[in-house]
């Protein structure tokens, strides 16, 4: 019902939808952009698309998933336009990175780890690890080869690991 009203440009319905989904979607945008205000700008432009294209929603999947995809695409297109994504094609030997458990790590620290990644790495990692896109889909979205997407993901993981170790060290030293 809310969606139908929102399609008819009912401002109250739109506001209710925004209030319901915006916190989670701002979290999604925050994955891609360090600055929260910047992330909010992307959130608003994403919601503008959501409300203008609401009539194209086919109710096949979840509404949240539909909005999330729009948010991710908004962030990617913005970063690509600003040439913030520099994904280089380099050969890399894939080795499974030894991982440590992040269960005790706070969300803020995890976000800090993600923020520490270069834009290209961060993009691929977010799309693959969190959004669940395949490498072939990421390659199309970012306009790179599939192997590049894989390479970027591996480097992102490695860097996250290294940064996590550094983070723990500093925490222990402070203690």
């Amino acid at each position: 019902m809310l969606i139908k009203k929102a399609i008819q440009n009912n401002r109250e319905a739109q506001q209710q939808l925004f209030a319901k989904h915006s916190p989670k979607m701002l979290g999604v945008c925050r994955q891609y952009v360090k600055d929260l205000h910047h992330a909010e700008d992307l959130l608003l432009s994403g919601f503008l698309k959501v409300f203008t294209k609401l009539s194209t929603f086919k109710h096949e999947g979840s509404f949240e998933g539909w909005i999330r995809r729009i948010m991710v695409n908004t962030c990617i297109s913005y970063l690509r336009k600003k040439n913030l994504v520099t994904v280089s094609d380099e050969d890399f030997i894939f080795n499974d990175v030894a991982t440590e458990s992040l269960e005790n790590t706070s969300v803020t620290d995890i976000q800090k780890l993600i923020d520490s990644l270069p834009e290209g790495y961060k993009m691929v990692f977010n799309l693959y690890a969190i959004e669940g896109y395949k490498h072939s889909e990421i390659a199309i979205k970012l306009g790179v080869s599939e192997s590049t997407s894989k390479t970027q993901l591996f480097r992102a993981r490695k860097l996250l690991q290294e940064n996590y170790i550094k983070m723990n060290k500093t925490i222990h030293e402070k203690k």
Binding site: P23, L26, L36, L43, L44, T99, S101, I110, I130, L160
Partner: protein, 269 residues
């Protein structure tokens, strides 16, 4: 590549993360949502204006084109109604006729007669130069020539002349722009000489008759006049001295050509 623990851990941690937007976030979005339809309306207005301008241009083009076509039609009508063409034709025809008459008369003949005695010494030279104008009739020419013939006869009577050694060098100059080319030499001999001698000349004229006919035919073709050249030549031969004939004949011919020209103009229109 299989998802490793790192990916899963991060995903789980971030999956339920919520960041509350600023208070002003909805207001900003609301303003953007209000602007969007206005922009659409503006866009529609602009599209409409573009369409209107294009239509205006097309209609203007059609109008001007149709005007041009309408302007062209009266021009054609003017061309049709204008009797300038006929007048022009009449003038041209008149010029042609005048030219014919003048050129008929303007047959320039220079006859040089050298009379030599037995010692091949030149005793007497008689030069005859006849340049009759339009006003001068052929009869006048005959008179002139007859006078000159008498001079020759006087010379004949006074001197012993061997006819075999008598040489006549006649130079005939015919204007190159003559419409009807009549051999002036033949004409002169026909007029000047005695009937006995004229017989010889007559033979010569007959011999040249084919050439004369051909000449008349070519000239008539140039003038685009379909008239039997034989008729003209016969008429000229029969009434060569008749001034009235020339006037009547040419007048009738002129009228006929005018009628033809008018008929052709009407048909074209």
């Amino acid at each position: 590549m299989k998802k490793n623990n790192l990916d899963n851990n991060i995903k789980e941690k971030l999956a339920h993360r919520e960041i509350t937007p600023s208070v002003s976030a909805w207001e900003r979005l609301s303003v953007k949502l209000d602007e969007k339809p206005k922009q659409k309306k503006k866009g529609l207005f602009w599209y409409a204006s573009y369409a209107a301008s294009v239509l205006a241009l097309i209609s203007f083009g059609i109008y001007t084109f149709s005007n041009d076509s309408l302007e062209n039609l009266p021009k054609k009508e003017i061309l049709v109604n204008q009797e300038i063409d006929t007048v022009q034709i009449l003038n041209n025809i008149e010029e042609v006729f005048n030219e014919v008459i003048v050129e008929k008369a303007l047959v320039e003949t220079e006859t040089v007669k050298k009379i030599k005695n037995r010692d091949k010494k030149i005793i007497g030279i008689t030069k005859t130069k006849v340049i009759p104008t339009k006003e001068k009739s052929i009869q006048n020419i005959i008179i002139k020539n007859k006078e000159k013939t008498s001079v020759i006869e006087v010379v004949k009577n006074n001197l012993i002349i061997d006819p075999t050694e008598e040489e006549f060098k006649n130079k005939t100059f015919i204007k190159p722009n003559s419409r009807i080319k009549i051999n002036a030499q033949d004409l002169l001999f026909a007029v000047i000489n005695e009937p006995k001698e004229a017989g010889k000349v007559a033979v010569e004229i007959k011999m040249n008759r084919a050439d004369l006919l051909a000449a008349i035919k070519t000239e008539l073709n140039k003038s685009n006049l379909k008239v039997d050249p034989e008729t003209i030549l016969v008429a000229v031969e029969r009434s060569i001295n008749d001034d009235f004939f020339q006037n009547n004949f040419l007048k009738s011919l002129k009228d006929r050509v005018t009628n033809i020209a008018t008929a052709v103009a009407i048909r074209n229109n």
